[in-house]
């Protein structure tokens, strides 16, 4: 039964669903579950056996060096066999650095994790989701990062114990000048459960703003785009879905005027329900769509927006 350390994400609303997903998976794998919460003094809401908290001015903003130092201190204290984190931008920044510091292996973005003959086996997508493989790590601890929505979350609850962890942080190698907030109040695409995406057929920035954003707003979805729409300048790179954009895993993905190039399909094919609206009945996107409407997005999208408001 492997001892597990998780990096528990939290925000102003407390521990995030992704943290509860990691606890859920850790419970399934067995063994004691410790969690590290950085930048907070409390552990309430996270039903791990032990929550280690790290707080202080150097943890007010995300920064690589203090985060890695906190993780290394938690590893030293808990001596876990397995470390789990949610595959987000922060984990991408710190987990490889931690792995290099510990001299151990890391497998990122797993979508499954199970015990097989005592070994933890992950399954991870590669080539932007066009292929998958089983991954095992022959070092201890073994570090995995897991995609959001991949595991069933446990219900929020009280931890077995909470302990403040002392971290010796030397001067950080980079200084944070400022944090830039997003323009609107939208969820990160990679964690969004609803996405409305537009393709080249929106024709212009105005088209994107008049068709895609209002439809997204009507259901509280995050707007996304195909590479064609981004390259044409209709919306920012940060909204691109696909092999060279964000890989997403929402419960609903509405593709408007997106033909379904192989690179785009790779980035969104694991969506639970896919809706495609496209003028071209032969567009490849329809082979992946749960529901398809053959029609003009300039007609369909405003009607759909109105109906969903």
């Amino acid at each position: 039964m492997p001892g597990i350390l998780i990096l528990a994400d939290h925000d102003a609303g407390g521990f995030k669903t992704t943290a509860l997903e990691l606890v859920g998976k850790a419970r399934e794998l067995g063994g004691p579950v410790a969690a590290l919460a950085i930048g907070t003094a409390g552990g309430e809401g996270l039903p791990a056996d032990l929550v280690l908290t790290v707080d202080g001015p150097e943890f007010a903003d995300f920064n690589t060096d203090p985060w890695v130092a906190a993780l290394a201190a938690a590893v030293e204290k808990v001596q876990p066999d397995v470390i789990l984190a949610t595959a987000n931008m922060i984990a991408r920044d710190v987990m490889p650095r931690l792995a290099a510091r510990l001299g151990v292996g890391l497998a990122c973005d797993v979508v499954e994790l199970k015990l097989e003959g005592g070994a933890v086996v992950g399954r991870r997508p590669v080539y932007g989701g066009k292929a998958l493989f089983d991954v095992t790590i022959k070092s201890s601890p073994a570090i995995f990062t897991a995609r959001p929505n991949a595991f069933v979350p446990v219900a929020a609850g009280s931890p077995g114990g909470v302990e403040a962890l002392t971290v010796g942080v030397s001067a950080a190698l980079v200084q944070v000048v400022e944090t830039l907030e997003p323009a609107g109040d939208v969820a990160d695409l990679t964690e969004a459960s609803l996405i409305v995406a537009g393709g080249r057929a929106v024709k212009s920035t105005e088209g994107f703003d008049q068709l895609i954003r209002p439809l997204a707003a009507a259901i509280g979805a995050s707007p996304g785009a195909s590479r064609a729409a981004v390259d044409a300048g209709f919306c920012p790179h940060s909204e691109q879905v696909g092999q060279t954009g964000k890989v997403v895993n929402p419960s609903l993905y509405i593709a408007c005027g997106i033909s379904g190039a192989i690179q785009h399909l790779a980035g969104m094919r694991t969506s639970k329900v896919i809706v495609a609206v496209n003028k071209d009945a032969d567009a490849p996107i329809f082979q992946f769509a749960s529901y398809g409407i053959v029609g003009d997005i300039f007609t369909i999208c405003p009607m759909l927006t109105e109906a969903l408001k």
């Binding site: 490889p96 080539y127 190698l173």
Partner: protein
Amino acid sequence: MKIGVLLKQVPATDTRIKINAGGTGIETGGVKLEINPYDEHALEEALKLKDKKIAKQVVIISIGGKGNDQRIRDGLARGADAGMWINDPSLEGADSLTVAKVLAGAAKAEGVEMLIAGKQAVDNDNAQVPAMVAEILGWPQALVISELSVDGGAFQATRDIGGGLRQVVKGALPVVLSADKALNTPRYASLPGIMKARRKPIAKKTASDFGVAVGEPMVADANWSLPPERPAGRILDGEPADVVAELVNLLRTEAKVL
């Protein structure tokens, strides 16, 4: 200042991936290789710093097998000054940390003060090597950046930290950076550039040149497969108002996603 650009060759993004007979990887026959798309942005940023006379020299450091010299040559044609081709069969299937050790050794040997990589290679999608190289060298890192300025011995960069947030960070050189697409628009090679590239040097190296003994990988893969087929969907037929109403109803009552 000398800048090292980490460059990798990967299957073109429009490749229809097939799994090989043993399930040990992808079918590589007939697959067109190209420069990893994000690495083109890394190279472009280095070339921009050279255009501004902030950098004196740009060297491409690349691990890869057959055909990799052509990718390096492509980078030289765009304006890089020299290439290093680490062609070592023992590195095929090596774990990220081993790859990072070799690249860190190469960076030291070249005496670079800045390393720029793509934010990830679109083959294995690991996104591990830049941070690992930074840790091995003891350098700061700014990853997935969309803006960069360099002044004297200092850098300032804007990085993506997720949740729609970006963070402006600064520090002192040397540094490891990784490029997002928003950083710049990569240039194409010019005809004179292509001619000049033929005479530019490409040094050939192996892992042992940097004192790295390549052992069994710590991270092992098996049972490759294509993603599961999606169940067949259905096309909603009828007048726009009717299909929209039907869709809304299906999303609410059948799919239960709204």
